[in-house]
């Protein structure tokens, strides 16, 4: 039985991060994009906890993870509100079609 090391955690974390990033980049649905963001946040959380665990059981990492979870909740709320408003404005939430920044 192989010992679970920091690298395993980091591998999970980076997989999650890449999945989140891909979701942000390629998904057309704004909700999906938001979900990608959540994935990235969570990958960061795993990093925090893992580094905390493998660097002398310090509590700091855990505390930051809690802060990030709260932040993610708030971000989700705001993000959904933005999506709702986008829908009101454009009658859809397709990120490809939202390019008003261009002009």
């Amino acid at each position: 039985m192989e010992h679970i090391t920091l690298n395993h955690f980091l591998f999970v974390s980076i997989s999650l991060f890449l999945l989140g990033l891909i979701a942000i980049i390629i998904r057309k649905n704004a909700i999906m994009v938001l979900m990608g963001v959540e994935l990235i946040l969570n990958s960061a959380n795993i990093n925090f906890v893992a580094f905390s665990r493998f660097s002398g059981n310090l509590i700091n990492g855990h505390v930051y993870t809690l802060v990030v979870i709260v932040l993610a909740a708030a971000e989700a709320a705001i993000g959904l509100a933005i999506v709702l408003n986008l829908y009101r404005l454009n009658q859809n939430i397709n990120v490809d079609e939202i390019d008003q920044l261009k002009n």
Partner: protein, 693 residues
């Protein structure tokens, strides 16, 4: 007491100018305001009589001076001296007599004008101008320095200009005033230069200070020539103002002004200002300057007398006789007869003013007819004018028992002595011939105007004696033309009241530059103001009866000839004129001097200005236009550089930036996802850069 006299004389100076200002400002609103000016002049006259009596009776030998510093320039450089301008008043016998003469004639002319100018549309302005003139003239008389003389000199010029051109709607009057102004300017330039020579050397304008320095042997620029030049240049002022040859041409034309003005300005006072000026600087005139002055005076009196023969305008005859008599005064100064020159100035002022006002009275009666050929037989119509005119004419002709005889005889005697002692015989010859000519043309005037048959019956019928305000001045002036005011001895004035008060002052010019006869004998102590040598006095005594007889004979001949021709009609004038036609035309056309000036000076000045205009148009304008053209080309070039190089650089920069911008704008899709993608790739790129470099 002297302070009182000074104050009163300053008051007489400023009273007329008050009248001038008030009448000028309010004359249009209050029609009777001109009376205010007349009353002011009356007050002035009373003041000047008081000053003259007190001065002459109680302080005949004193000279009252009051001065103050007007401007003081302090110099900080040692090369430039500090300059002080003093203003001041000097009262001596000559001044107070002139003060009285000017005020009296001015007052009488004011009175006369009330009627003469009646109904003129610029009535009150006329009186205002008279006030301005009186002020300026009194300024010349009272001042004690050359600076103020120059200032007031120009002021009389201005008032003369205004009054000659008073009827400026008339083309000839406007021209005459212009001519007077321009001719005076020539003389005034000389006067200014003379004053500046003295000021540069002595640093003061005051007569007494200048004379003191000359007497101390301090000559201008250290040479007699400059002293002579200063004298002649100051005399130039008199040549202009006193209408001496060759600047006498303006005075006859000045007769375009109203007749009372001619009496006041162009007969009695202003034209005498030149004589007065020369008298003021008499003591510093060298022998050369005096000879020059005498010659100019003689030439003037002769030319004017010959012209007066043939003139038909009554005022022109009087004008030329004025020029002639002014020449007499100048000549008298030139031959050293200072006191007689001033004597003649005063007597001439009275009788000539009387004649001019008399002619004004005649002209008024004849409804502004001035041509003597239209007059005649006015003797019975206008008895007061006639008799006063007769007295004045006798005076100017030098008939005994008149004032003119006294002064003229003195001048003739002085010229005779001068001719004997210096050998310049032409001067007495001219003087005597002019005396005879004067008598002739004045009596010609009398016969044409007052005797014979009326030639214009219509105007004759309407002629009438002038009212009292016009005849009263005539009576007063003709009374003053009789001998007893000046000397109780009707033959010899030298011990009379007038010449007692006016003595020839001592010349301060060093002996070498004086006429021999003007040098006092050193052995004799100076007891009084006699400037002349014993020899001169002896010559005067020697010639006394000769001179008297000759002047009487010549005056008598002149009168007789005039009577023979114009009264008894023994000679047909027209036939005579036809016989000596060239001479007649020469005299009638005033020696062609006007034409000469027209051709030589006016036309050449016009040609010169035309040449200058051509030069201006072609050369100066050409230079200006050429430089403008060159500038235009240069700026066109600059424009091209601006357009293609400077603007090109700017535009090129903009183009380049535009191209880049277009390129970069391609990646600005506006899509959030692409931005994220860029960010990710950028981070990866950065990672590699950090990693491998």
């Amino acid at each position: 007491m002297d302070q009182l006299l000074i104050n009163l004389s300053v008051a007489t100076l400023f009273i007329p100018i008050i009248g001038f200002i008030i009448v000028l400002l309010f004359g249009k609103r209050f029609k009777k305001l001109f009376l205010f000016e007349v009353v002011l002049l009356g007050i002035n006259l009373l003041l000047s009589i008081y000053i003259a009596i007190v001065k002459l009776a109680y302080y005949p030998m004193q000279k009252f001076v009051s001065e103050f510093t007007w401007i003081h320039f302090i110099s900080t450089s040692k090369y430039v001296p500090s300059i002080t301008f003093d203003l001041g008043v000097m009262l001596d016998n000559v001044t107070v007599i002139m003060l009285f003469v000017v005020n009296l004639i001015s007052f009488l002319v004011h009175l006369f004008s009330i009627e003469y100018m009646h109904g003129d549309k610029r009535y009150s302005r006329y009186f205002a101008y008279l006030g301005l003139f009186t002020f300026s003239m009194l300024g010349i008389v009272l001042t004690h320095n050359l600076l103020m003389i120059y200032i007031f000199w120009e002021l009389v010029g201005v008032s003369s200009y205004l009054l000659i051109g008073f009827w400026f709607e008339k083309w000839s009057a406007a021209n005459a005033s212009k001519k007077a102004m321009l001719m005076n300017r020539v003389g005034d330039t000389g006067l200014l230069l003379g004053i500046l020579i003295l000021f540069t050397n002595y640093g003061t304008f005051t007569f007494d200070k200048i004379f003191q320095q000359i007497a101390a042997g301090n000559l201008p620029f250290g040479s007699y020539a400059w002293l002579t030049a200063a004298g002649i240049l100051i005399f130039m002022g008199a040549v202009g103002k006193s209408a001496q040859f060759p600047l006498h041409l303006w005075l006859p034309d000045a007769m375009e002004g109203p007749t009372p003005v001619s009496a006041l300005i162009h007969a009695a006072t202003m034209v005498a200002a030149g004589v007065y000026l020369v008298a003021r600087v008499f003591v510093m005139l060298t022998a050369d300057a005096l000879l020059f002055i005498a010659v100019i005076g003689a030439i003037t009196s002769f030319i004017a007398a010959t012209i007066a023969f043939t003139q038909n305008d009554i005022k022109k005859v009087l004008a030329y006789s004025t020029v002639s008599q002014l020449g007499y005064m100048i000549m008298a100064l030139g031959v050293g007869a200072y006191s007689y020159a001033f004597f003649h100035l005063v007597t001439h002022a009275f009788f000539k003013a009387c004649m001019f006002l008399g002619s004004g009275s005649v002209i008024h009666a004849m409804h502004h007819e001035q041509d003597m050929r239209e007059m005649g037989g006015l003797k019975d119509k206008m008895p007061i004018t006639f008799w006063t005119f007769i007295i004045a004419t006798l005076a100017i002709s030098g008939v005994p028992f008149t004032s003119g005889f006294l002064s003229k005889d003195g001048i003739l005697l002085a010229t005779l002595a001068f001719g004997k002692l210096t050998g310049h015989w032409l001067i007495p010859i001219i003087a005597y011939s002019v005396a005879g000519m004067t008598a002739f043309y004045m009596f010609r005037l009398i016969y044409l105007v007052f005797f014979g048959e009326p030639r214009n019956h219509h105007k004759y019928e309407h002629a009438h004696e002038s009212p009292i305000v016009m005849t009263l001045p005539l009576i007063i002036l003709s009374t003053l033309s009789v001998f007893w005011w000046y000397s109780l001895n009707p033959i010899d004035p030298s011990n009379g009241v007038f010449l007692e008060k006016v003595k020839t002052p001592n010349s301060i010019v060093p002996d070498v530059q004086r006429f021999q006869f003007m040098i006092q004998d050193k052995a004799k102590e100076v007891v009084n103001n006699i400037t002349h040598s014993e020899l001169y006095m002896e010559t005067l005594h020697h010639f006394h009866y000769t001179a008297l007889a000759m002047s009487l004979i010549l005056a008598g001949l002149g009168i007789l000839l005039a009577t023979y021709i114009y009264k008894w009609r023994k000679i047909d004038v027209d036939a005579l004129a036809e016989k000596i036609k060239p001479l007649y035309l020469f005299s009638l056309n005033k020696w062609y001097l006007d034409e000469f000036v027209q051709i030589v000076f006016v036309n050449s000045a016009l040609k010169f200005s035309k040449a200058l205009a051509w030069f201006d148009l072609n050369v100066v304008d050409g230079i200006v236009n050429g430089s403008a053209f060159v500038l235009r080309q240069i700026s066109a070039l600059g424009g091209l550089i601006d357009k293609y190089i400077v603007d090109g650089a700017v535009n090129l920069t903009a183009e380049i930036i535009g191209v880049f911008g277009k390129g970069f704008s391609k990646i600005q899709t506006g899509k959030v996802q692409s931005y994220v993608l860029y960010a990710v790739f950028s981070i990866i790129l950065l990672f590699f850069i950090v990693k491998f470099f």
